[in-house]
């Protein structure tokens, strides 16, 4: 077993060398910084009437204005922030639950596995829209936080399945059997033998959940089940469509939010592939 510090160094070396990882990560970081720093670049609130209506991008209004003269750039920046929030919280929760469920199922097998499997299936089969509908009705005001939690609690099956499969394959490896024979308690085995090998997998699962959460949020926002007190990229698209942005020529209101989502999530997936190559030397050939 290589010493942990050397392993980390080795990992970092290959990580920085990997082109895909570099490109993906830089795109994500760019948007992240934009989301964090952006609000300082604008004095407006997203729904204030600040300028002439229907104005194309100009020096004063970088992304133009909406039907009512609201600043699209402001909406974009604040929307980015909301999307990142959803990604991190929603993705985080989804990963957490998925790992717990998948890992337990994969490690113990048998009845527990069957039961958890059925649970996973049910959550997949239940149309999440229906549940969100009820929730949305009871909560007078919906925020980004609620949305993230909801997404996390409904998107975990993907992660659970993947983690379970991975756990299965790891469980039957020699070094685990060795640890078992030597009498170490199962919980300790989980944390000391299996978990470190799964670290890479966990990271990649989180990245996928992150991207997935952003996409799901965009869809929910678009059909009107999103936050009621904030702006998000999906909500921007919703408003743009409601107010006929494209037929009226206001492409600057509709195109940037969707393009940003595609860019961020795409970059996340790219990063994922890069990470995969870094963690699995076998893949580095291509």
């Amino acid at each position: 077993m290589t010493k942990p510090k050397k392993r980390i160094n080795e990992f970092l070396y290959f990580a920085l060398k990997n082109k895909r990882l570099r490109v993906g990560l830089s795109v994500v970081l760019f948007f992240l910084i934009l989301a964090l720093v952006g609000p300082l670049l604008t004095d407006y609130k997203w729904d204030d009437y600040v300028g002439p209506a229907y104005h194309p991008p100009s020096y004063e209004y970088w992304f133009g204005t909406t039907t009512f003269g609201q600043d699209v750039f402001t909406q974009f920046i604040l929307g980015l922030k909301a999307s990142f929030l959803v990604g991190i919280i929603g993705g985080g929760i989804g990963t957490l639950i998925g790992v717990l469920v998948g890992f337990t199922a994969g490690y113990h097998g048998g009845m527990i596995d069957e039961f958890l499997n059925m649970l996973t299936n049910i959550v997949i089969v239940i149309p999440t829209l229906a549940i969100l509908l009820i929730i949305s009705v009871y909560l007078k005001v919906r925020g980004v936080l609620i949305e993230s939690i909801f997404i996390g609690f409904t998107a975990w099956p993907w992660a659970a399945r993947a983690i379970r499969a991975q756990t299965f394959s790891l469980r039957s490896r020699d070094f685990v059997d060795l640890a078992r024979i030597s009498g170490i308690r199962p919980l300790k085995i989980m944390f000391t033998e299996i978990a470190p090998n799964m670290m890479s997998y966990l990271l990649m699962t989180f990245i996928l959940q992150f991207g997935g959460a952003i996409l799901i949020a965009a869809t929910l926002d678009f059909i009107g089940l999103g936050p009621t007190n904030a702006i998000s990229l999906g909500l921007m698209m919703n408003l743009a469509v409601l107010w006929g942005a494209l037929p009226l020529g206001m492409w600057w209101w509709f195109i940037p939010p969707g393009a940003a989502i595609a860019a961020i999530v795409g970059a996340l997936y790219l990063t994922n592939v890069g990470l995969d190559e870094v963690f699995n030397p076998k893949l580095r050939k291509l």
């Binding site: 997949i124 009820i134 039957s172 393009a259 795409g266 997936y269 699995n280």
Partner: protein, 330 residues
């Protein structure tokens, strides 16, 4: 084999039961009164509304105790009676859904299956050479990362407004009524293309990337190296790799069927394509209990059947499972 199937079947039935119960519970947890909504839309004169209120409440069985409503629900399902819609009063829900289902099938099946086939093929290509990998993959990433509705609306704008090649909405021309004729089929396909394309493109990306990753894994597995060392032609190795790689893709297909509803719903709304997704949105916005229930019931059944079929497919494709069922597993 028999044991495997009976166990699977049992689990499916159990899942169905639970899912349907939740489906029934859902609208009932929503505050507000669907009869009220119905009457409001009717904008009847005062006195008439008062009378109709009790009439409708009885008609919809909303004055019975909950457990009785639940029982009636199951009985009704087996009779094929899913209640009367409120949004599209007084049409029966089953009729409304039945009219929408063909549109959904024609839209979803081709887009899911074709994108799956094409995506896997392209993904396998990409794993061949570095050049292909660097061109196909970015396209795949971006496509799969694109929100469905954004792509749908863009396609609509570019290909139906800026360059009026395709129609902007609906499943068939306003100037035609259904008939099983050349002209109608051609017109239908012409309307079908944009919704199909927007779904296809996004899903295609996902499969392509997935397949590419799986193939690369397989190509680096021991057995691949072993075959190469033996001098087997590259094509043979790739074929074996493909067969192994396809397995998780089949599982993925099953999962995809579940979530495609959300994407299809948005696409249908954008193109006013009268499938179930379009109905659901209207039902949700108008708190149409029975229509919501009915639509979701259909989706649940659809997903379960599809999953079951894929399980069967899995057995056919993967000999290890067949063998594993014959003897004891390790």
């Amino acid at each position: 084999m028999k044991q495997y199937f009976t166990r699977k079947l049992f689990i499916y039935i159990l899942t169905f039961f639970i899912a349907v119960t939740i489906d029934w519970l859902i609208p009932r947890f929503m505050p507000g009164n669907p009869v009220q909504v119905l009457l409001a839309r009717a904008s009847l004169h005062a006195e008439a509304a008062k009378e109709m209120y009790s009439y409708y409440t009885k008609a919809f069985g909303l004055d019975l105790p909950l457990w009785k409503q639940y029982l009636n629900f199951w009985i009704a399902i087996f009779h094929g009676d899913l209640g009367t819609s409120i949004l599209l009063f007084p049409q029966p829900v089953i009729k409304i859904i039945m009219r929408a289902v063909p549109y959904d099938i024609f839209l979803l099946l081709p887009s899911i299956l074709l994108s799956w086939f094409a995506g896997n093929k392209f993904g396998a290509f990409a794993a061949r050479t570095k050049w292909l990998d660097n061109t196909i993959l970015p396209v795949g990433y971006i496509l799969t990362a694109t929100p469905y509705m954004w792509l749908a609306i863009l396609l609509g704008w570019v290909l139906a407004m800026v360059f009026p090649i395709f129609p902007l909405a609906y499943a068939s021309s306003p100037a035609m009524i259904h008939s099983f004729s050349w002209i109608f089929i051609a017109d239908y396909l012409w309307h079908w293309f944009l919704p199909f394309a927007s779904l296809f493109m996004v899903m295609f990306g996902g499969w392509a990337i997935g397949m590419r990753n799986m193939i690369i894994y397989e190509l680096e597995a021991d057995y691949s190296h072993y075959l190469e060392a033996l001098g087997a032609p590259r094509k043979l190795v790739r074929r074996y790799a493909f067969r192994n790689a396809i397995l998780p893709q089949v599982t993925g297909l099953a999962l995809q069927l579940g979530i495609i509803m959300a994407g299809a719903l948005v696409t249908e709304v954008v193109f006013s394509y009268p499938g179930i997704g379009y109905l659901i949105l209207g039902a949700i916005q108008n708190q149409d209990f029975f229509l919501i229930q009915g639509c979701f019931l259909f989706i649940i059944i659809e997903v379960l059947i599809a999953n079951f079929l894929i399980d069967v497919l899995y057995i056919i494709i993967d000999p290890r499972i067949r063998i594993g069922m014959g003897g004891k597993s390790a």
